[in-house]
């Protein structure tokens, strides 16, 4: 991201901020959707994060950290959004008709759906640590800064999230006729 744009935004240039926000929007939106698993909630979280970023733009001292800062504001906004829309567990029973055939026919799409269903079973903190590693490709140190927790917590949370995800996939394998929708 252009250092000049960031410096102009920090100086109060709204057009420069809009350019920066435009460049980051898709990444932040995807980050929020992965954590929240809800398109509207994610859009609200990104709006909150970018509004906070503009209000606090003068807190940016190092342009090199700007992207990481936006990521962090978005993760925290996603946590808040998750708390606001907290935990309405809705189980949707899917008729178990020709399941084996359907699974065979869908192939890769089905595998993605299974991953999606399993991912929804995790809590937002577990999703966030997996997103930090697998989407943002951050190291433990960087994930620590993003999530605002110690490195040791990142490691243990990542381990638990991976175990939980694996268990959710295995459970999904065992009961393929039940889809669980958990808007967090």
């Amino acid at each position: 991201v252009g250092r000049d744009l960031i410096e102009r935004a920090v100086a109060g240039d709204h057009d420069a901020f809009v350019s920066l926000a435009g460049m980051a929007y898709e990444r932040l939106d995807r980050l929020a959707r992965l954590i929240l698993r809800d398109e509207d909630a994610a859009a609200d979280a990104v709006q909150e994060a970018l509004t906070a970023a503009w209000l606090h733009i003068r807190a940016v001292r190092d342009p090199e950290r700007f992207d990481g800062w936006l990521n962090r504001l978005t993760v925290h906004a996603a946590y808040r959004e998750a708390r606001r829309r907290r935990v309405r567990l809705v189980e949707i029973r899917v008729p178990q008709l020709d399941l084996a055939d359907a699974r065979d026919g869908v192939g890769a799409v089905d595998a993605r759906d299974q991953l999606d269903r399993a991912f929804r079973r995790l809590n937002p903190q577990q999703r966030a640590v997996l997103v930090a590693h697998h989407y943002l490709e951050l190291s433990d140190f960087e994930a620590s800064a993003l999530l605002g927790v110690p490195v040791g917590t990142v490691k243990s949370r990542l381990n638990r999230a991976t175990i939980a995800l694996r268990a959710a996939i295995e459970a999904d394998d065992r009961t393929p006729g039940v889809a669980t929708k958990v808007p967090a």
């Binding site: 939106d29 190092d62 950290r65 700007f66 990481g68 999606d116 989407y135 995800l165 996939i169």
Partner: protein, 506 residues
């Protein structure tokens, strides 16, 4: 079970293939529009709180990791050296005699770290200008609220409304109800009035204190909206609306005997109430003053230990350094400066001096506007709504007819065209007249309180002796007497609230 690396691979692929949201463009435009209406916070406030500190980038993390590694190595080496040194000291017989000084490191005490000191640009005092525009009458629009005391200083006070061309009319209280109603303050949209009430009158003990909110219609009639109870003991609270009109802040204050035999006001707490829901937040006293940030998200409270900036929602207080024992404060409309007075009490004996300063929340430093003046009591700094002017009160320090005018109180108006001019101290100073002619009558203006008109072009001067006058501070309009009553509240209990009198526009 699938192998771990396969799950990792599938997860990465799935996350990067996740479809984009369908309504991104509209939502992004909403963000652009919303942020265009907002002004970034000053640097000091923007950076307060861990969430707002910019996260370390990859390079700095790598640097930190290297530094940590070096620190670990240095610590390990230091430990080895220390252990070895201890053995040398404890077991001198094993290594022979130690000559004085040879095993003892040279003085390695660190250099003193200079403590940060606030920068105070030293300003030459601007020359006072005594010229004021000549005299056609100003148009005064909208209702103005004020308090009267019907029979002297310790008598029943009531709330009145007045506007140009009409006689005042009472909207709260009666001559005989033995209830004090005080401190009227119009909401920012001018449609509601908040004021304090309590059973009992004057300096006597009050009971059943409450904050009252009423609707004011175009004809100046009041309709009750809600009462917020404050309890027994406190004086009627003085409300301060947040700029967005969503919150009301007020001090819960008691009048108690002071050490000199007089009465002093002590603030138990500063309470903030959400106008719509009645939800409350409380900040502990004592406090000498408070004011809202322009974005209505923060309240600056002058406490004995400093000016504390409290956030209303997440409660993350920030204390501004070197601001202990501040008297009155006022937050500039652009959010960058907090104007404050310090040293007020020291001037009672004429031995000390007060100073008027700005705290620059971008630079984290003080700017002196007046480093020495005398003041017994009166008006602390009050920003005009446009931020181009700052008004305060001080004792006259010049000679008039060859004599000092020490007992004369001046209302001083400082003006600067923009933020940077305030930051660099490039402001001008004017002093309001002590009196003016209204027709054939000379009207005295010994200052008690002031309030800015919503456009920042006029000051409402609420004077001892009962005059309420409109004083233009720009253009060529003339001062105008709006009201002259000898029963207007004229006694300053030191309640911490800026004067807010100017109300509903037609």
């Amino acid at each position: 079970m699938k192998p771990r690396d396969d799950l990792d691979r599938r997860l990465s692929a799935w996350m990067n293939e996740a479809p984009a949201g369908s309504a991104q463009t509209e939502r992004f435009q909403e963000i652009v529009n919303a942020t265009a209406r907002l002004r970034p916070l000053p640097q000091l406030i923007a950076a307060h709180g861990s969430e707002w500190v910019d996260a370390p980038g990859r390079a700095s993390i790598a640097r930190r990791a290297r530094v940590n590694q070096r620190l670990a190595i240095a610590l390990a080496l230091g430990l080895v050296v220390a252990v070895a040194g201890s053995m040398v000291l404890w077991l001198p017989g094993l290594v022979g005699p130690v000559s004085p000084g040879s095993a003892i490191p040279s003085n390695t005490s660190p250099s003193p770290i200079p403590s940060p000191s606030p920068s105070r640009p030293s300003l030459s005092r601007p020359s006072p200008s005594y010229t004021f525009p000549p005299l056609p009458r100003v148009d005064v629009t909208g209702w103005i609220a004020f308090t009267t005391q019907v029979a002297g200083l310790d008598a029943d006070s009531d709330i009145y409304l007045v506007r140009a061309g009409e006689a005042p009319h009472r909207i709260a209280g009666s001559d005989t109800d033995a209830v004090d109603e005080q401190c009227p303050a119009f909401s920012p949209d001018g449609r509601q009035l908040a004021y304090g009430r309590a059973d009992g009158v004057g300096e006597a003990g009050h009971t059943n204190a409450a904050m009252v909110i009423v609707d004011i219609d175009q004809a100046g009639a009041a309709t009750p909206v809600r009462e917020i109870p404050v309890g027994d003991g406190p004086v009627p609270p003085c409300p301060l609306w947040s700029p967005d009109g969503r919150w009301l802040a007020f001090a819960v204050a008691d009048v108690v005997p002071g050490t000199d035999g007089g009465l002093v006001t002590t603030v138990r707490e500063v309470r903030v109430v959400q106008e719509t829901s009645g939800g409350e937040v409380s900040f502990p006293g004592p406090a000498s003053d408070f004011d809202w940030s322009p974005d209505s998200g923060r309240l600056a409270i002058a406490t004995a230990s400093g000016i504390v900036i409290e956030t209303i929602i997440d409660r993350a207080p920030l204390t501004l350094p070197n601001t202990a024992e501040v008297g009155t404060i006022s937050w500039s409309p652009d959010g960058r400066f907090i104007a404050f007075e310090r040293g007020f009490e020291a001037t009672v004996s004429h031995t000390g001096g007060a100073e008027l300063l700005l705290y620059d929340l971008d630079a984290g430093a003080e700017i002196a506007l007046n480093q020495h003046f005398d003041a017994f009591h009166g008006i602390g700094p009050v920003w005009s709504p446009t931020g181009e002017r700052l008004v305060y009160q001080r004792l006259c320090d010049r000679l008039e007819n060859g004599n000092p005018c020490r007992e004369q109180h001046d209302i001083v108006v400082l003006s600067a065209p923009d933020v940077e001019s305030w930051a660099s101290g490039a402001f001008t100073e004017a002093i309001l007249p002590q009196s003016f002619l209204d027709g054939d009558t000379r009207v005295g203006l010994a200052p008690f309180g002031v309030s800015w008109s919503p456009d920042g072009q006029n000051l409402l001067d609420f004077a001892f002796g009962g005059a309420v006058a409109v004083i233009p501070v720009a253009g060529d309009a003339a001062p105008r007497l709006l009201l002259q009553r000898n029963d207007l509240t004229g006694y300053d209990r030191g309640l911490p609230v800026p004067i807010q009198l100017w109300g509903r526009q037609p």
